[in-house]
């Protein structure tokens, strides 16, 4: 009994010393950011933000030097480089004392047509009973440009190649030229029907309906702007069509039943447009867009010769590509790295059961000229927040 009491006293004293000690060390640190901005002469309107990960608190500074309490931080820089928006980002920096961190700056992409995929929810949800529900997948398309754009003709695509099954394509590697697709669904319209203001979004759902009836952990998607509807002549695979929500035009899908975006996140997604004047008939008639190729499937047990047939879109037609792959099982980029040099994920492995209800969401660069601008550096590893709780209305609010 005595020994026990002694132990408790000793422990108490230790804690006291530790507590005293804590008071004596520095509690703040000065962080100096060195911004590498290749080809940029002048950097102005700097906004340096330090986000304390543990305390969930933000510190901002209009110079590249900031004083913060010790801790773990995500640093981001928003600025104008030669008058254009640039950004830099560094995550998970441990700050214990005064230090210097280096960050690479790059331009915020500002193409002519700047629709981007802002949020992708492919994993489905889990019901309160622990079962899976996959009818509530959605994509959020965001106008990241400064102009009002028409979404008519924008094609939502899923990649045909799988990010966790590496193909050795040898000299038949077409990725620098083409993006292989296994599903293409197009926003209808006459060219000016579906106009989207800068910073505004389109919600494209598998089924535009209230899913909370089927699964309390899901969402009400009945207000979606579009849904994809798969006609089936078999009653065993039935898709639902909300008459109040416009359907996407189904151009192509690898399956004759219902398109369910890859629920383990092994397939990239993208937005594309056919060239002006090209019809789907033109597209399918042209042999150039149906590639038959051989490859070696690369596995831990060696390579296996295979062949495959894919419909492809030239890279120039791609408006946005977001490569997807679980962080630990990623094998290869299924698109050209010029389309997307990185990949996004919601979980370390494809079958991770914690992935349900999680999405990838594009990071916000900030509000520029009163419009929300999202980060698009064509590197999804950087551009996306991984595994965030899915919220189809995040960008609407």
């Amino acid at each position: 009994m005595k020994v026990e009491r002694l132990k408790i006293i000793a422990l108490f004293l230790c804690l006291l010393f530790v507590a005293c000690d804590q008071k004596d060390i520095n509690t703040t640190a000065k962080v100096t950011v060195v911004l590498h901005a290749e080809g940029i002469d002048e950097v102005s309107e700097i906004e340096l933000k330090a986000h304390d990960i543990n305390m969930n608190k933000d510190y901002t500074e209009s110079t590249l030097v900031i004083t913060v309490p010790v801790g773990y931080f995500d640093f981001s820089v928003r600025a104008l480089g030669d008058g254009q928006a640039i950004r830099a980002y560094k995550r998970g920096v441990k700050v214990q004392h005064d230090c210097t961190i280096e960050m690479d700056a790059s331009y915020v992409s500002q193409g002519d047509d700047n629709f981007v995929l802002a949020e992708i929810f492919f994993a489905g949800t889990e019901t309160p009973e622990g079962k899976r529900y996959i009818g509530d997948k959605y994509f959020v398309v965001f106008n990241n440009s400064a102009d009002t754009l028409a979404a008519d003709g924008l094609i939502l695509v899923e990649a045909d190649l799988n990010s966790v099954q590496k193909y050795d394509l040898g000299d038949q590697d077409f990725r620098d030229q083409y993006f292989a697709v296994d599903a293409m669904y197009r926003i209808p319209g006459d060219g000016q029907t579906y106009r989207v203001a800068p910073g505004q979004v389109l919600l494209i759902a598998d089924n535009a309906m209230d899913h909370t009836e089927a699964n309390a952990n899901s969402f009400d998607l009945s207000v979606a702007d579009f849904e994809w509807y798969d006609v089936s002549s078999s009653a065993g695979s039935t898709d639902v069509d909300n008459p109040d929500v416009t359907n996407l035009d189904k151009i192509y899908c690898y399956t004759q039943t219902i398109w369910v975006p890859h629920n383990q996140g092994h397939k990239s997604f993208g937005l594309a447009r056919f060239p002006e004047g090209m019809t789907t008939e033109d597209y399918f008639a042209d042999d150039a867009y149906l590639l038959q190729y051989n490859y070696e499937l690369v596995t831990a047990a060696g390579t296996f010769s295979q062949s495959k047939k894919s419909y492809v879109l030239p890279n120039e037609w791609m408006v946005d590509v977001v490569n997807m792959a679980p962080s630990e099982t990623f094998q290869w980029l299924t698109s050209s790295d010029k389309l997307d040099a990185g990949y996004a994920y919601v979980a370390p492995t494809g079958s991770d059961v914690t992935r349900f209800g999680k999405a990838v969401r594009r990071k916000t660069l900030g509000v520029i000229n009163e419009r929300l601008v999202l980060q698009d550096t064509n590197n999804s590893s950087d551009d996306f927040e991984m595994g965030v709780p899915a919220n189809p209305f995040y960008f609407k609010n």
Partner: protein
């Protein structure tokens, strides 16, 4: 010396042939019995022995079986030439694949191989023709790995403890064995007085308990044997929720009567086998709490054999065999079902035509039951005649056989509006509505010996068997047709003073009739919907059109396997060698082949057309087996009390389709809004299949030291290589069928340019068809048996005590090489046997 040897050889040969051999008087019988005892004491054989008469066959006796320490019959197969030791897997169905490469197919398309292997227990074949225990609509669920429908006998259900001797006929079976394509497993069980025997076995995954005794009265005129066996196996030792339990009980009465002129022997066996497969989800885990699977199997069989023969030197013998077996099989599966997509219909329409069906609730509990009550009857009167013509000795026999199979179960029982799998369109039906199968067969055979010369003898076995299926209805092509199986074996013996050489050639046709499910498959219900009227989120019903298709193949033929083999060997001073080369070609094995039908339908007065695809049992598979089997057995070398056995096999098996086939394998889905499969399907004249090849060799050294009651065997089990190759196939369709007219159109240059039809072509990578080999692997297995007292004996075994798994290289990405590193883990078991 020669005469002594011959004097010994004759009884040995007689011993081997004893069940059928009747030309013995009582003195000879007594001599034989004492010889048998003497031989079994001194000549303990713990490996399979190669039988050289008639056909290539392996004989495994009780000592060998005890040495193997089996949990079920599956474990015995490791003793076949080229056999490999496999750890017991008792939570999956175990079916037999004779003479197939070790890396052979496990695909259901080639199940005819195991379906065509006949298990004959105490003279009565085990019929699985009425087995329909599977959970329809749940092809990938808990049931799929446990069901053996259409795949023959599940060897898990055969307990080994009452078995006295097993003979596995790999080659050409005698004409008395029918409804078989691949081989015959002949099981004879103990029928003699024995002390109380008890066995307790435990290994990593299972426990087994056995009790048995044989009683004899009136100078063994009456013998009663009984045995009780219990096995409990788990899929994983730490998981008590997935297991397999088996109980077998057997009572066997043998009664002999002697009249002045006749001898009568009556055997009456009553056997019960019960087994339960269980799979549950841990109730402590919140998920899927309701989900469970349980498959029960209860079989009761009564087997009677009555033999009547003359008391003195007999020239005829009459034998009547009658076997009745009934089963009560039940599968109960419960599953909590959540719709993964929002709206799905609860289709309960059983009529052809348009119907309105309600939609399923988002979540429900589905209960599915499968009740099967197969009844099998086997009756065979046969007569045997023994006579001489000139210098020829004949043993002729003829028999008639009737096999009846029927299932009286209620079949798949479930609420159609709450199905296990809501995307399935299958409908339940009662099994008792399926017509019974009546198989009538006859056979004649003659074993002729020509003792031509002192140094040359000739054996000729010829037989003819006819099999017919009766009462099926005239629409079946098979009905009433007699399928003839001629079988012949000719053997040349060259005896000399120290032993003999022999060469033999055998050829035979083998026929397996289709099972009840293959003859009378369930009707198919195609539930179609309108392609221009969609279900809205607020809808509670939908309109469908149900089209009923009868997938019965009235042209179905029995699977027929033509086998031939050449055997050669010697038996010199107890050095025994046999080598067999064989080929087996089954060109019309059963497989489900895709059928296509163009169908027009209307829903709410709108007209639609599409192609419907379904599977029909056909004779579309080919299984071609080829190989060399060998076995050498040395005498026991006295100085080291050791016998060496070297056996092995080179086996090459080709599995492929034998008919042209429709395929949607590479169909592209929906192109430009057109569902391609619904409207165009290609007909390919291709070979879809693969070759599997293996070379195995096993060296067994067994040490038997009688003085201390110790038997030790070490087996070096090696696979020199296995190889596999996919058969080349041409992905250009020969023709295509269109939904517009339901006609086949040639696939020409115009079609190849069509934006939709061009998707039916597929170019295969030539690298896909490269032969791939896996190099050497070797294991050392150890088995030890030790008598502790006169009454007890303990045994243990270790599989893969040592392993030799050299690394090897395969091609990797970008021309690099990948090193494959293989590992193996040992497997232990031990047991205690008591004889009181």
């Amino acid at each position: 010396m020669g005469s002594i040897f011959c004097g010994l050889m004759i009884p040995v040969v007689l011993l081997a042939a004893r069940p059928d051999s009747l030309r013995l008087d009582s003195a000879q019988q007594a001599l034989l019995d004492s010889l048998e005892r003497m031989f079994t004491i001194q000549e303990v054989v713990v490996t399979a022995e190669e039988k050289i008469e008639r056909s290539s066959a392996s004989v495994i006796n009780k000592e060998a079986m005890q040495h193997i320490q089996p949990s079920s019959f599956t474990d015995i197969l490791q003793t076949l030439p080229g056999g490999t030791t496999k750890d017991p897997n008792l939570t999956n169905a175990n079916t037999i694949r004779l003479r197939e490469a070790t890396n052979g197919s496990t695909s259901g398309e080639y199940d005819a191989s195991s379906l065509g292997t006949s298990f004959v227990i105490d003279g009565a074949p085990v019929s699985t023709d009425a087995n329909m225990q599977y959970v329809q609509s749940d092809a990938s669920g808990a049931d799929s790995k446990r069901s053996s429908v259409g795949a023959g006998v599940d060897m898990r259900t055969i307990s080994t403890d009452d078995i006295e001797k097993v003979e596995i006929i790999r080659g050409i079976a005698g004409a008395e064995y029918g409804d078989v394509t691949s081989g015959v497993v002949k099981i004879d069980r103990t029928s003699k007085p024995t002390p109380w025997r008890a066995r307790f076995k435990a290994d990593g995954f299972s426990k087994l308990l056995f009790f048995g005794k044989g009683l004899g009265w009136n100078d063994e005129q009456t013998v009663l044997n009984f045995g009780l066996d219990y096995l409990n196996a788990k899929a994983d030792p730490t998981n008590t929720l997935e297991n397999y339990q088996r109980i077998t009980a057997s009572v066997r009465l043998h009664q002999k009567w002697q009249a002045d002129d006749f001898r009568i022997r009556w055997q009456s066996h009553v056997d019960y086998t019960g087994s339960i497969d269980n799979e549950k989800i841990d109730p402590d885990i919140h998920r899927n709490r309701e989900d469970s699977y349980k498959s029960e199997y209860h079989k009761l069989s009564w087997n009677n054999t009555l033999r009547l023969h003359q008391a003195d030197v007999p020239w005829w013998c009459f034998c009547m065999q009658a076997n009745v077996s009934g089963e009560l099989d039940r599968i109960c599966q419960t599953r909590f079902v959540q719709l993964t997509t929002p709206k799905n219909p609860a289709i309960d329409n059983m009529q052809e035509g348009e119907a309105t069906v309600s939609l399923l609730p988002y979540k429900y509990v589905a209960k599915h039951e499968v009740e099967g009550i197969p009844l099998n009857v086997f009756v065979r009167p046969k007569a045997e005649f023994f006579f001489d013509t000139w210098k020829l000795e004949h043993k002729a026999s003829a028999g008639i056989e009737w096999r009846y199979a029927k299932n009286f179960g209620r079949g798949q029982i479930y609420d159609l509006s709450r199905p296990l799998n809501y995307s399935s369109s299958l409908r339940p039906r009662a099994y008792y509505d399926i017509p019974a199968s009546n198989q009538l067969a006859w056979y004649i055979q003659d074993d002729i010996s020509f003792p031509l010369h002192e140094h040359f003898g000739l054996n000729l076995n010829i037989g003819l068997r006819g099999t017919s299926l009766l009462g099926l209805g005239s629409q079946y092509a098979i009905n009433g047709k007699c399928y003839l199986d001629p079988r012949a074996n000719i053997g040349f013996n060259f005896p000399f003073s120290k032993g003999k050489f022999y060469v033999a050639v055998a050829i035979g046709q083998h026929t397996k009739m289709p099972t009840l499910l293959q003859l009378s498959p369930n009707l198919l219900y195609m539930d179609l919907q309108a392609t221009d009227i969609a279900i809205a989120p607020t809808d509670t019903t939908m309109r469908i059109y149900t089209h009923i298709i009868n997938p019965t193949n009235y042209d179905l033929q029995p699977a027929r396997n033509l086998k031939w083999e050449v055997r050669a060997g010697f038996d010199i001073n107890k050095h025994k060698l046999s080598i067999t080369y064989f080929e087996e070609d089954m060109r019309n094995a059963f497989r489900g082949l895709m059928q296509v039908e163009a169908f027009d339908y209307t829903i709410s007065e709108n007209a639609y057309d599409r192609l419907l695809t379904y599977s029909m049992t056909s004779n579309g598979s080919r299984i071609y087996k080829q190989g060399v089997e060998w076995q050498y057995q040395s005498p026991r070398i006295k100085a080291i009390c050791t016998r060496f056995t070297l056996n092995g096999a080179w086996l090459r098996t080709v599995y492929n389709n034998s008919e042209r086939m429709y395929s949607t394998e590479k169909s592209p889905g929906v192109v430009n809004g057109i569902n391609v499969q619904d409207h165009y399907i290609g007909l390919y004249n291709w070979t879809e299949g693969y070759i599997r090849e293996s070379l195995n060799s096993n060296l067994v050294a067994d040490v038997y030291i009688q003085r201390i009651g110790l038997t030790v065997s070490a087996t070096l089990e090696t696979t020199i290589y296995t190889a596999s190759k996919t058969l080349e196939k041409n992905g250009v369709p020969e023709a295509y069928i269109s939904s517009k007219d339901g006609q086949l159109h040639p696939y020409d240059a115009v079609a190849a340019q069509d934006p939709i039809l061009k998707t039916l072509i597929f170019d295969y990578n030539s690298g896909l068809f490269i032969r791939r080999t896996v190099p050497f692997e070797g294991y050392l297995n150890l088995r030890v048996q030790k008598s502790i007292t006169k009454f007890a004996n303990i045994a243990l075994y270790v599989n893969r005590l040592l392993d030799i798994l050299p690394d090897y290289q395969v091609s990797g990405a970008n021309g690099s090489m990948v090193t494959i590193h293989r590992t193996a883990s040992p497997y232990f078991g031990m047991e205690i046997n008591l004889n009181i």
